[in-house]
Symmetry: C2
DNA sequence: CGGAGAAAGTACCAGATTCAACTAATGTAC
DNA sequence: GTACATTAGTTGAATCTGGTACTTTCTCCG
């Protein structure tokens, strides 16, 4: 028998959905308006910028950004078309390829990061106390960990 | 000058993104697998089911589900095609129309709700203590409220 | 070795989402 | 009451996403 959510739980759950949706829309809007980048683009640039040699294997990048391989492939294609990154083939594993940040990509990130970070600060950090934000982070860490772990298990069970 | 996120803040922020993304994927997967509904479909059915006469004006439904009008219009079209709801014209305002839950739509909701609620419980409520979940809800409420309020203001400023 | 199976990526296709343009009805101001 | 701006909602094209099938390369094990 299903145990339903009580009204409080329901409301919290809906707030979670609303917070994420509104936040994502807003941050995306700001980024797109001022720098012609989507959040997804931005995430990719960030991950590459943080990596050794400003490059990552496609799969690693997909995993880091929680995108499907297919989606990432399309997206990298687009970013390559606009010149923010390039693909390079991988010497050790000739099936593989790297996405590599170009100078233009790095510059795009440098330009857009202040917008994004300021957005996150304004809409999240400034709205919460330190402990509230920490609690949010902790809860989300647990949720993410639980799902990741579970899907590892079901993969293992195959 | 931009004030960057420190590593802890960064990590919490990324957990928030990860939690939402993984959760959404997972819940969507469960719903789609077993009931051939997306989360978005489900949300629409829920909102209609909660409304007077199991009907809502398109704009109200769009607002409730945080969807754009265009998106909602397409989506309602699809749900109409599968028979889960119908459109009815609005007598008071002849520009307007209602989305109305059909018997089949109600049944689809009755069937799928246990899957969804169980999913939310398993992946969220069971993973957190009562107070952790409450903290999550409270933080999200504040975030959502802040963004809504801000965009109201900027609308007002027009 | 060599053959079966797994992994990395891409390509293709179908479905979803956005954007801008559009129709039709309503509201408002003179 | 007629013209202008607003609002409700839809439409179609362009873009984005996700699933699956496919190619190439690697790995493992006999």
């Amino acid at each position: 028998m299903t145990k339903w959510l009580n009204p409080d739980e329901q409301q919290s759950w809906r707030s979670f959905i609303a917070a994420w949706t509104l936040l994502n829309n807003q941050l995306n809007f700001e980024l797109q308006c001022r720098h012609d980048l989507t959040i997804a683009d931005y995430e990719i640039l960030v991950r590459l910028s943080e990596s050794e040699g400003k490059r990552l294997r496609m799969s690693d990048l997909a995993e880091a950004t929680l995108a499907s391989r297919s989606r990432l492939s399309h997206q990298v294609g687009r970013l390559e078309a606009t010149g923010l990154l390039t693909r390079e083939e991988c010497a050790e594993d000739r099936r593989g390829s790297f996405a590599v940040l170009t100078e233009a990509g790095w510059q795009a990130l440098v330009d857009s990061a202040p917008t994004h970070v300021t957005g996150v600060r304004t809409h999240v950090l400034d709205v919460l106390s330190k402990s509230e934000f920490k609690a949010l982070g902790d809860a989300c860490r647990k949720i993410a960990a639980a799902i990741s772990q579970e899907s590892d298990q079901s993969l293992g069970r195959r």
